[in-house]
Every structure is written in structure tokens, then in C-alpha cells.
């Protein structure tokens, strides 16, 4: 199976949901297949101990020859070749592009804003890896817009309420299944440049004339309540023909995926087309039973029943669902390889 310079983002719904475990699994599967990888992070990952919980964390171990980006202060003293400084800065210093000379652990601290991540990923791609992995941080998603495929890491660390967890994951999955559509096909596109606009602002932005169809193109986050109200508002309800998000990350950012999914469903029921300009493939969902449970002033490691968790996810989602620890890296690799292969679609 050939994988050709695709960018796969590993995003989580919360801290400790298994992003690093998923990353290591892909790295472990890619290496024996001769797939050259590059890794960057949108935060800080690979540390031995969690910055918040104080619990041990999996290290990020790269095979020899792998490329990585990390802050200058995080480059290990030996075994790494610094290729170039990227000009991108984090709280830990300038981000460097390095090459792993021998297999070893590294702490990743890559560019953390969307535009800089895009620039650095482009630079990394020019060096010829087959696969660029963007390691997420906590529940951060915005920089993941650069990815062409997604792994969504979720699990009990997000909530130990398994039905709620599955509902949320299903809602998130639905954003990745939104159809691709270019704005302007259903009416005059109104590009919304205000984050979290009110209904009044949408009315003003659209300046809609009576009977003229309106199409909202959201480049910035919007609150699901506003979308619901759009379908009720007397000034808009008969004019709104379509809602387009730039990509599936945008509806994810609203903070309440279940509410957003319900709002979009409401739009569709009212005859409003919903889509994304730039689709992204959801390669897989990883479901981790691990959770750090507060105990006094510290945390202890705990789990929810792994089998029940996995079964619940698989019954509700159409995407491949993997418990990486229980099932190993191969299942995840197959999903990634299928999604990241040239020409693959969601």
C-alpha cells in the first residue's frame, strides 16, 4: 500500500484521550512498511509526565530517518540533526525542523497556529516524506484544518458517560460526512467574517432582498443556536437556501457538537442545504477506556469497560473505530492507509 505525502491530523476531544498512543501506533506500523514519516505537533507532546495530572504519559518514539518539528529547547542533545529553523515560535522557543539519526524519544513542540502550521507542513512535505502526521493537543482542532485526513481520538477521559461520549462522537463524525459544495450555487453567497455572529448581524450581512435566496458561507465559528434561529427568523427563514462551512473543523469548534449536529439537521429539515467547501476524511475514531480520576489533590489512572465502550462506538459510527491499546497498531494503520491513500475520499 502506498501512502503519498498526505497530511493526517490526530485530534482529541480532551486531554488523555489517546492521541499520543495513536501517533505511536501509526509510527510503529509505518516503519516496517518503509513509509517515510514526518511528525509535528500543534502543542507539546511526548513528555514523560502529564503537565496537568502528573500521571505518566507515553513517550513519542520516532524511527531513524523520521522528520520532526520541535522547539529548540526540546531537541535532544544527541541523535538528531537540525535541518533548519522554521521562523515559527512557541512558548518554548523557535521551532526547528530536525531529522532523527537513530530511533529515539522526542518531545514535540510544533507551530501552534493554523497559518504557521500550514507553512511548516508545506516545508516538511518538500523534504519528501510519504506521510505527515500532525499530533494534536488537548481538544484543540483549529490548526488541524491543514490535514487532509483526521483521526479523532476520544475516550473516557472526555467523559466516563459512555452514551454521551458516543453521541458526541457520532455528531462529530457527521461533520466529516457533510457533502462538498461550493458557496454560491444556491444563491448569493454571504461570507461571514464575524466570529459567533448574532442573527441580526447575519441579516445585516446578507442585506437580503425579498424572495432572493441567501447562502451563508462561514469562515469563522458560529453558534448552533444562531443557526436554529436563522431557520425561524422572519427576515431570513424564507431566504436562506444554504449554509456552507469552510471545512468540518469549523462546526467542531462550536464546543457542543451534539447541539451543532442537531442545528444542522434542523436546517436540512427546513430545506437548507448544508455542506463544506473543503471536505476532510475521517480516517478513524480511536476509543480509549483510560481516564485520570481525581483523587484528593492528585489523579489516579482508571478505566471504563473497554469492550462495552468499543461496542457502543461501533454500533453508532460508520467510520472505523479502534481501541489502539487492545487491538494493536495494524487496525489503525489500515484505516489510515485507506484514508490517506492518493485519491481517497471520505
Amino acid at each position: 500500500m502506498a501512502v503519498d505525502a498526505r497530511v493526517v491530523g490526530i485530534a482529541g476531544t480532551a486531554k488523555n484521550t489517546g492521541k499520543t498512543t495513536a501517533l505511536n501506533a501509526i509510527l510503529a506500523a509505518a516503519h516496517p512498511r518503509g513509509v517515510a514519516v514526518a511528525v509535528t505537533s500543534i502543542g507539546y507532546d511526548g513528555e514523560a509526565v502529564d503537565n496537568v495530572t502528573g500521571l505518566p504519559k507515553p513517550r513519542v518514539v520516532l524511527p531513524g530517518g523520521a522528520l520532526a518539528t520541535t522547539a529548540r529547547s526540546c531537541v535532544p542533545p544527541a541523535g538528531w540533526e537540525v535541518l533548519e529553523a522554521t521562523g515559527s515560535w512557541t512558548a518554548l522557543g523557535e521551532v526547528l525542523l530536525v531529522r532523527c539519526l537513530e530511533p529515539g524519544a522526542i518531545v514535540l513542540a510544533g507551530p501552534n497556529r493554523r497559518s504557521e502550521l500550514a507553512r511548516v507542513v508545506e516545508r516538511v512535505q518538500a523534504l519528501g516524506p510519504s506521510l505527515v502526521l500532525v499530533d494534536g493537543a488537548l481538544n484543540r482542532l483549529a490548526p488541524m484544518s491543514v490535514a487532509s485526513a483526521f483521526i479523532l481520538a476520544t475516550g473516557a477521559a472526555r467523559t466516563a458517560d459512555i452514551p454521551a461520549l458516543v453521541r458526541e462522537a457520532a455528531a462529530m463524525e457527521s461533520f466529516f460526512r457533510l457533502p462538498a459544495r461550493l458557496p454560491g450555487r444556491a444563491g448569493a453567497p454571504t461570507v461571514v467574517h464575524t466570529p459567533f455572529p448574532s442573527v441580526d448581524e447575519l441579516v445585516e450581512a446578507s442585506a437580503c432582498a425579498e424572495d432572493a435566496p441567501v447562502e451563508f458561507s462561514f469562515l469563522l465559528p458560529v453558534h448552533p443556536d444562531v443557526l436554529v434561529r436563522v431557520t425561524h427568523d422572519r427576515r431570513l427563514r424564507s431566504h436562506v437556501a444554504a449554509v456552507t462551512f469552510y471545512d468540518p473543523v469549523l462546526p467542531l469548534l462550536c464546543g457542543d457538537a451534539v447541539a451543532m449536529a442537531a442545528a444542522l439537521q434542523r436546517c436540512r429539515e427546513r430545506g437548507v442545504e448544508v455542506g463544506v467547501e473543503r471536505p476532510v476524511t475521517l480516517a478513524a475514531v480511536t476509543a480509549s477506556p483510560f481516564l485520570p480520576r481525581p483523587q484528593g489533590q492528585r489523579y489516579v489512572a482508571d478505566t471504563v469497560p473497554a469492550g462495552a465502550l468499543l461496542a457502543a462506538f461501533r454500533s453508532a459510527l460508520r467510520s472505523p473505530v479502534v481501541d489502539v491499546v487492545a487491538e494493536g497498531s495494524e487496525a489503525l494503520w489500515e484505516a489510515v492507509a485507506a484514508a490517506a491513500a492518493p485519491g481517497s475520499t471520505s
Binding site: 507539546y44 488537548l138 483549529a142 465559528p221
Partner: protein, 601 residues
Amino acid sequence: MKSILCVPLDPVHDVGIKLIRSALAQRGHRTELLSPDLPAEEVVRRAAAEPWDYIMVSRTLGYGVAEILARFVDLLDAAGVRERSKIVIGGKPVTSELAAELGFDRGFGEHSTVDEVVAYVEGREAGAGATAAARTKPDVTAGFTYDVRHPRVAELLSTITERTLAWAQARTTPALRRVRLREAILDAPEAERNRLWQEYHTLCDGPIAEGNRDGSLPQGVRRVREGEARALRALLAERRAVGARGIRHAGAKPLMFKFLGSGCPVMDIVHAKVCERYGLDGFLLINPSWEARYEGLLDGLLTHENDGTITSEQNIRLVRELLDPASLLTVRAHRGLNTPETVLLAARAGADLTKINLVYGSLGAGTDPERLAVDGLEAMRIAARHGMGFDIPGNDELSGVPAWKSLAGQLATAAIGCALGARPILKPLFCYGPHIVLHGLMADNFVDYNLAKVRSLRSLVDAPIWPGEPIAFMTQTEDRVQSANATSYHAALAATAGVEAITVASTDEAYSRGPIALASRIDSIRAVADAYRFMGGAQLQPTAGVDGFTQRITDGIVTTLEEVARHESLPQAILAGALGNAEDGAYPGTFGRGSVTADGR
């Protein structure tokens, strides 16, 4: 002028962001403080509405809050705010690593100051931190004339000095011959060194010569492996330099020192770097007791699992090289048979100060008084030649010697040092010593008698005073909190006394039963910093008893020096018990006895 949006995402703990806002406003920056109860979406709208230079967020952390903050950063990113504004997080547990993980451009935590935040906004930060960059190496002895203010004491010290210098003039020791060879080795071309080393080894005791010649080092001693030294340098290179905290609340003194002497130079450096981070001014490198008993010094980067770090040239160099350039380094030399050579190596390695006390080194530290006198004088000459000051620890008090005898011995050593062109530092012990206990001199408080020592010395001579060694000796217990408190009170007293420096113990120093724990080092530094903050410009008020103690100490010094001046030289006075006798609990040392010979130079 910058524009800053201040965002207290925490409804309760928003004091920090208000202080920062106030400081920024005072510097002429445009600031706006949002209400603490706004939802993230509204904050993002406000942040996007204007081209702010900085969005500063204040938030305490708990589990779940990290996700809230990460989403907030995400929203700012998605809203395009990050393209024009830097996003900053502040809160007690915030570290640079956490800030990076959350996606902020910069984080300020518990140890950050308002000034640091302002400097960051104004682009004044220099990576290593403004405080660290501003550190300059202090000079403990600067500005002192060494004038003796008490005519009788001046006369006595002059007599003692002249007699001692005359006595020593025609005498030599193996240490003097070695130090000349060692200087030649240091300056010789590579080809000649081997021959010089061979000659050097003829002047050494067997274990030293064998250790240097064929590598059969004394039991427990081994060379620091190349990988260990490399890992140490890598660790220091990997860790970002962090701006040092300040210990003093106001003023430039007392400087604060700690001992290094874990036995391992690598561990010493790791401890020292952390102490530097907490604002420590300098370190005293302490050698092992066995080293003091041998003629000659081992060569190489050496470690052993025992108290005291071997004072080889390479060990001193490594410590000096890896300390912050502004940190002071003192190397102990007076204890044993290698005093001049140790001072030479310390000077060549870039140490700033050394420790020489002809009296304590004999009475409390086991070296024959005559041997130490001859060696010590040469050591003072070397220190003078290299512009090194030397401190004179008064730890003979711990043997049971009364304070006035210890101080008289310090004054005699200082006077001889001045005559040889060196710059001595007096070190009255801030302690609850045996003589003090037996005579109830601190029955009421620890303030009067310690302060009286300083006042007495100040009345006699214009010289730097550095209580030690460490302060609060014999007042600490195995209770770390108590130890930290005791140290901090004595530090506050030292500040009241206006002394130049103090030496501070770690809170487990007397009870560690092994290497000092790093956390215990920080305990006492933090305790002292807190004491200085508490006292500020205020002063501890002694009772009326201080005047009587001061007078008694001064009278005792005069009486002691009169007794010393009756002898042929200082070492003869020590041997005769003028500066401490068997009744006091002081016995002249025996290391090197009989090794002083006529100088055939």
C-alpha cells in the same frame, strides 16, 4: 505603545491580571480589562473586534480547565485573532511547557513577576530572562580599607603579623615545593609535563601518587565518565536559561552562599544550577576530609560517594565553567596539607574566593598549626597575586572556643593576609555554640549575642563581614520547616547587622545521612527570601543586653590578642592554647606535624 486586552477567565483569581493591567497602563500602554464572567465566544468577538497586540488570559487550572483554555485558543485561531495578536496565559501553575501545550504564545506562572510580563510586552525580554541577563558578579571585599580602628588591637595585630611572617620566612613544607611544581606544570608545554608530574609525585603520599600515576585511585574514587560529563553539558544546554529569582527584597546585600560538596562535581553542578535559578549568589566548594590528610592532590575529573568534592584542577574548572558567570565560587583551602596548591588551582580555574583560616584550620580542622601557618601564608600570597579574596570561617567556636578567641584568630589571620596583599573576609559564626550554651549567652534570644559579634568586629576594623558557616548552626533540627525558619530568622538578623554575605545550610544539612536533597536547598533559600520580604527595610531590635555582650567580646578579643602577641608567632600561640585550649575543647591538629623544614631556597 501596545494594546492589550486583559481577559480574566477566572471569576475569583483575577488579582494578577489586574496588577499586570495596572503596570501596563502606567507604562503608557492601552489596556482594556474584560468582565470575568463573559463566555468564551463573547471574549473572542471582543478580541476580534480590534487589532489587539496581546490577548492576556488569566486562569487558574484544574482538570477540565485545560480543555476550556485550549478551545479558547482554538476559537481565537479560527477567528483569525492569532494572525495579529499574541495570546498569553498567566496563572499559578502555568509553565512554558503547559503554555505550549495549550497553544499559547507565552505563559507566565507562579514565579513570574509583573515586571517580566511588562518586559515581554515591550519586547525587552532576552530569552534568558531580564533578571539573569542583568546579573553582575559582586565583589565582597570592594570598598573596605582594612583600617584597624582600635589602637591597641592595631598594635597587637601588627606585632603578631611581623613575628609570624618572620617566623615563616625561613621555613618550607612539601606543599610549598609542590605548588611551585604545580605552577610549572600548568604553564609547561605538553612535552615537559610528564617529567614535572613525576617530580611532583615524589612529594605526594602513596595513594595520591599511585592514583595519578597508574590510575589506582583511593577506594571509592573513580573518574567521571565521559558520558556523564557529556550528559551534564547536554542537560544544561537542553534546559533553557531561566531568569533568576531575587532573594533580597531591597538592597544589594547580604549575598547568599551555599556549600557544594556532594562528592560528585556533576551533582554539585545540577544542584548549583537550580540554586542559581532561585537567586543564590555563590557557592563554597568543600573538599573531603581524607583529601586533607594526604600530601598532594589527585588529578582529573573525579567523583566518589562521600562527603566533600575532590578539589582537583579539573573538578574546580568544571564547576566554575558551568556556573553562571555572575555566580561567585569559593574553594576551601585551609583544611589539610594542600592549602597553597588548592588556592593556585582555584585561581587558575577562575574561582573568585578561597578559604584560609590559620587558627580554625589548626584547632578545628586537624592540621598542624606550624604546617598550616607556613602553607597558609603562601596560599595568601597566591590569592593576592591572583586578586582573590579569602574568607576566614570561625567554626572553631563549634569546638567550644569562646567567640572572642575565634574572632581574635580571624583578626590575626586577616592582618597577616593584608600584610601579604590579600583581601580577607571575617566570618563570625551565627551559631548556638557550646560556649554560648554553657554560659547561657543566648538564654533569652539569639539576636543579641550574634549581633554583638558583628558590632564588635565593626568597631575594630573596616573589613567585610560574612557570618557563617552556615548561619543558624546548632539551632536546626531534623524538622525541615523548623530548620528553614531558623535559617530565615538568622538571615533577617544578618540583614539587620548590614553584613556583606551569609552562608546558608540546606534544611536537611545536619541530618541528611548522605547527600543533601535539592529540595532542602530550595527550602532555605525560599525561607530566607521570605524573611527578607517580611523585614524589608525594618530592623530587628536587640535588647539592651547587646551592648554588654559587644563590650565583653571586644575586651575578650583584646585580651586574647595580647596573649597571642606574647608568643614567637601565631602557630606558637595556637600550640600554647592562646586561641583555644583543651578546657575550651580545642586541640591543635596533627596532620603534617614535623613536615615544616628550613627553607633551602
